[in-house]
């Protein structure tokens, strides 16, 4: 058997081009006769656009055109839409405000584009953009939900009174209220989930080319889902019909959610290419990225959890207010609803859960899915509550969790999800052993002798991936189906191309997808090529987000491999004059079991294409496709334990140990999975201790560069101890659950639980910066002094 199949630590096929500087990212693409776009962006969070004077800009050297929103809408380019409809408690639809790729009469956040300059060089475009004179009538602005929901708050969209987008609920309110009323103990907390900027290292970029002779458009873009981009650009934005638009997402330098959406710049580059009859290129600066890439999180919640006299959870009630920014981004509505509140039962058997969510417009950049998308917010809420409840009840936080774990599967929660598998106690035990929780008190004493405060915190997260059965998400409001497609092409010489609708922007699909084929046909991964990211090559696909490429994307490949395998066996049985049931594929050969009769794998390929000797009625060729629609969500889960030391003099926190035990189901390549967990944990530590996207009350972004927005760096994070304790997912052919987001979902509560344990003050918000930790320590000292 090949040693490159499922479970092997195969080094990545794609690495060669990246380590030699030969990766091809969108900004590396140069088209003949290429011009450059520079956007004129609002410096105000909220203003009426009274006039735009482009005359000075138009007269400048190298300027091809200066275009505005009235021209854009006049050409029939449609408004940007949100693709997931949410219905409020009262049955009314969500209030989606109009969003034009170039604002016409009003701007609603700092960075909202009002015009674009197309010029021969980047420098000329930028200089001319600065010469465009926009007359703004500045309006009062709001930058957070608490300000937006106030009576008399500035009205951001006319069709959203009080800036309310929707008021939604899930679960059983009356039963939950009753359970909490009769609870022996209740824990109540106000919890803020801090706003973040995703920051993939490659800034967004687009190169659009209109070919007048064919009425055809080509768009190179930094997308996690080029087919979805083509669909939306065609069906909703009317840029070009689908068959006249090719979208290519070449090497993409990280996504984390921020590159799911189809942004104004992509629409404008395509349209401007048609207007100017030139290729139009735009690459975001990092400053533009902070202003215009969709942000993540930004929830304010109040939660109450009730326990009976034996410490069993009897009810959990949550109210969440979510900031969706100035416009509704593509999947923004699903994040604080179906991707969040459906996970609020956590790993626990809770009979009664109720959550209601109000979402508001603010004068900030749109907020949408960022690594984890709703599940980090749910995990943070539940796991902060569990740790706090354990402290209030005076019981071990790990044991309080254990006693409430779901132990039988399938398990129907009160909030839609039906968990299919898991061994939460197994993950807890594995993490506790790896973290040496038993030795913690000795380590704490030792740290105290050095003047340090040592703390330990748990997080037992569960999340939902592999999203999801198309009919199910359709019934919940999704405007798309969430299946995946694949095509397997066996060439006449026996090499294989896998065409997939998934997209790799760091996940290593070129390796793991090849491993799946290697496992099936016992072929070296070098003979297998993965093709993705080009709508002209791959017929359709839903792309990569929500950790779906394994559970959904690879399931589609697996289905197509089934069909290829069946045809290979039919051909071999015919040629070798044997029964199909006796044919086995191994060692580069297709053999008759128990005999010396065999064909080389490549000979079967050649037979299929020469078609000289095929079974009666069989079509020539060896190419099969499949669409896979998931049967359920998948439920990755695990236990994270964080141990910190706080310097009480400075409030500086060091993570001294971070231990993860994850259940991802089947693992194709442990090396790559561990890498995903490492990166996710670093982003979670970033959220917990460093990162915060901050707007002032007037809607000016204060954290608009790497000087102000604190990205995790190598000396901010520890080495991670990562292990797996897996149960097989029964819902898909490979038993996979997904691993891309778990690290970012599970880690923030572990970090904050550890710091609050160390400092003895639970009143601490993310990011737990040294100044916040120090202030929390002063509260403890002040309280002690008062006693």
């Amino acid at each position: 058997m090949t040693d490159q199949g499922i479970g092997a630590r195969v080094l990545r096929k794609e690495d060669k081009r990246f380590i030699t500087g030969k990766g091809k990212y969108t900004d590396d693409i140069v088209q003949p006769n290429q011009a450059y776009a520079a956007f004129v962006r609002s410096p105000h969070a909220h203003a009426n656009v009274k006039s735009i004077d482009t005359s000075a800009a138009e007269a400048m050297d190298g300027v091809e055109a200066v275009l505005n929103g009235h021209q854009l809408t006049g050409d029939g380019i449609g408004n940007i839409i949100c693709g997931w409809g949410i219905t409020s408690k009262d049955g009314s639809p969500m209030n989606m405000g109009a969003w034009s790729a170039l604002a016409t009469d009003k701007v609603r956040y700092v960075g909202d584009a009002v015009a674009v300059v197309i010029a021969d060089s980047k420098a000329q475009a930028q200089a001319a953009a600065e010469a465009v004179m926009v007359d703004y009538e500045i309006l009062p602005a709001t930058s957070n939900v608490l300000a937006s929901m106030k009576e008399g708050a500035p009205q951001i969209h006319e069709n959203a009174p009080g800036n309310l987008i929707f008021d939604w609920e899930i679960g059983n309110k009356d039963e939950t209220d009753a359970a909490l009323a009769s609870a022996h103990h209740t824990t109540t907390m106000e919890i803020t989930n801090n706003r973040l900027s995703p920051n993939p290292m490659e800034p967004r970029s687009a190169v659009a080319t209109f070919d007048e002779s064919e009425d055809h458009y080509t768009l190179y873009t930094t997308s996690q889902n080029p087919h979805v981009a083509r669909l939306v650009l065609s069906a909703f934005y009317n840029v070009a019909p689908e068959h006249k638009l090719r979208v290519i997402a070449p090497d993409v330098g990280g996504g984390f959610g921020a590159k799911i959406y189809i942004y104004p710049e992509e629409i404008v580059c395509l349209w401007a290419s048609m207007k100017t009859n030139r290729s139009v290129k735009w690459t975001s600066t990092r400053s533009e990225a902070f202003l215009t890439d969709a942000h993540g999180r930004d929830h304010v919640s109040t939660a109450t959890m009730g326990f009976d006299a034996d410490n069993n959870i009897v009810g959990f009630k949550i109210n969440t207010k979510a900031n969706l920014g100035a416009y509704m981004s593509l999947f923004s509505s699903s994040v604080p609803t179906y991707l969040y509140a459906t996970l609020l039962s956590g790993q626990y058997n809770i009979a009664n859960v109720y959550c209601d969510v109000q979402t508001y417009y603010t004068n900030t950049v749109p907020v949408d899915a960022y690594r984890g998308a709703g599940r980090p917010e749910a995990a943070y809420l539940i796991e902060r509550m569990m740790e706090t409840a354990a402290r209030e009840l005076g019981v071990d936080p790990g044991e309080l969790r254990r006693q409430n774990f779901v132990r039988e599967f399938p398990h129907q929660t009160p909030v839609i999800m039906a968990y299919d598998s898991g061994d939460f106690a197994g993950n807890l035990d594995q993490a506790k052993a790896a973290a040496d929780v038993a030795g913690f008190s000795a380590r704490k004493e030792e740290a105290a002798r050095r003047g340090k405060l040592r703390g330990l915190g748990y997080s037992n997260y569960i999340e939902a991936c592999g999203i999801a059965p198309s009919a199910a998400v359709g019934s919940l409001g999704a405007g798309v189906g969430l299946w995946e497609s694949a095509e397997v092409r066996v060439n006449p010489v026996g090499t294989i191309e896998i065409l997939t609708g998934s997209h790799s922007h760091g996940q290593g699909h070129e390796t793991t997808f090849a491993q799946l084929v290697s496992e099936r046909f016992d072929l070296p991964t070098d003979n297998i090529q993965i093709v993705h990211g080009d709508t002209d090559k791959v017929q359709f696909g839903m792309g990569t987000y929500g950790s779906r490429s394994g559970a959904v994307g690879m399931s589609a490949i697996s289905k197509a491999l089934d069909k290829v395998e069946a045809k290979v066996k039919k051909i071999a049985a015919h040629v070798l004059e044997a029964s199909e049931d006796d044919i086995v594929i191994e060692g580069g050969e297709v053999k008759v079991k128990g005999t010396d009769k065999a064909m080389g794998w490549h000979e079967v390929g050649l037979s299929a294409y020469t078609a000289h000797n095929l079974p009666e009625g069989m079509e020539p060729g060896l190419k099969e496709g499949a669409f896979y629609d998931p049967t359920n969500f998948t439920f990755p889960a695990g236990c994270y334990i964080c141990e910190v030391e706080v310097d009480p003099q400075t409030g500086v926190t060091e993570i001294v140990q971070f231990t993860a035990s994850d259940d991802f189901g089947t693992i194709i390549n442990p090396m790559i999975v561990e890498g995903q967990v490492h990166g996710g944990i670093a982003q979670g530590i970033g959220q917990a201790m460093l990162e915060h996207a901050v707007y002032d009350d007037d809607g000016q972004l204060l954290s608009g560069s790497y000087m102000d927005y604190c990205m995790p760096r190598a000396d901010d994070v520890p080495n991670y101890t990562v292990s797996h304790h897996s149960t097989t997912c029964p819902g898909n052919p490979l038993g996979m659950k997904g691993c891309g987001e778990a690290g970012a979902i599970g880690s923030p509560p572990a970090v904050i639980n550890a710091i609050t344990d160390a400092i003895g003050n639970n009143n601490l918000s993310m990011p737990a910066t040294p100044s916040r930790v120090w202030a929390a320590l002063q509260q403890v000292s002040a309280a002690q002094a008062a006693e």
Binding site: P200, F256, Y720
Partner: protein
């Protein structure tokens, strides 16, 4: 316009460029060596690190004209020959020190520079030192764990 002349990856290169052309733009746009990346506009991320006269430099923070007469090495030129890989490149692959690959060229250029500097100074490049030395390079994918491992491994292979 300014005429700039420098040696890039062992080849003499010369061009007329606008006075304010950054070294990184000269490398990417004029020479079409697109392995050197631009990830920010405040000299923070390190995706653009190249070597100028043997020292790691953020190419977004230097004018092309300031590199007049210099020996410049980019990621495309670190290996001994075009069929070879530099030991640090090998170490990044073998330790899974990269995911999306965007920060990787800058990481490798920073890594080889730190290894040479520590070696020259006779100092030990331990994990703590590697993490401190990476202060000017941001990676969003790997959580740094495998980058740190890769640099330690690459350092031993460069010895």
């Amino acid at each position: 316009m300014t005429k700039v002349t420098m040696t890039v990856n062992g080849k003499a290169r010369s061009a007329e460029v606008p006075d304010n052309t950054l070294l990184v733009d000269y490398i990417r746009e004029n020479l079409r060596l697109t392995g050197t990346h631009v990830g920010c506009d405040t000299s923070q991320c390190g995706a653009c690190v190249v070597h100028v006269n043997g020292q790691a430099v953020k190419a977004c923070t230097m004018l092309a004209a300031s590199a007049e007469g210099a020996e410049v090495t980019t990621i495309e030129g670190v290996a001994a020959s075009k069929d070879d890989l530099h030991p640090m490149q090998v170490a990044f692959k073998e330790n899974h020190g990269l995911q999306c690959g965007f920060c990787t060229p800058g990481m490798i250029m920073t890594a080889t520079d730190m290894v040479s500097r520590y070696k020259e100074a006779g100092k030990t490049l331990d994990e703590h030192a590697i993490r401190e030395e990476l202060e000017g390079n941001i990676c969003r994918c790997t959580g740094y764990h495998n980058i740190v491992k890769a640099i330690a491994d690459g350092a031993s292979k460069m010895a």
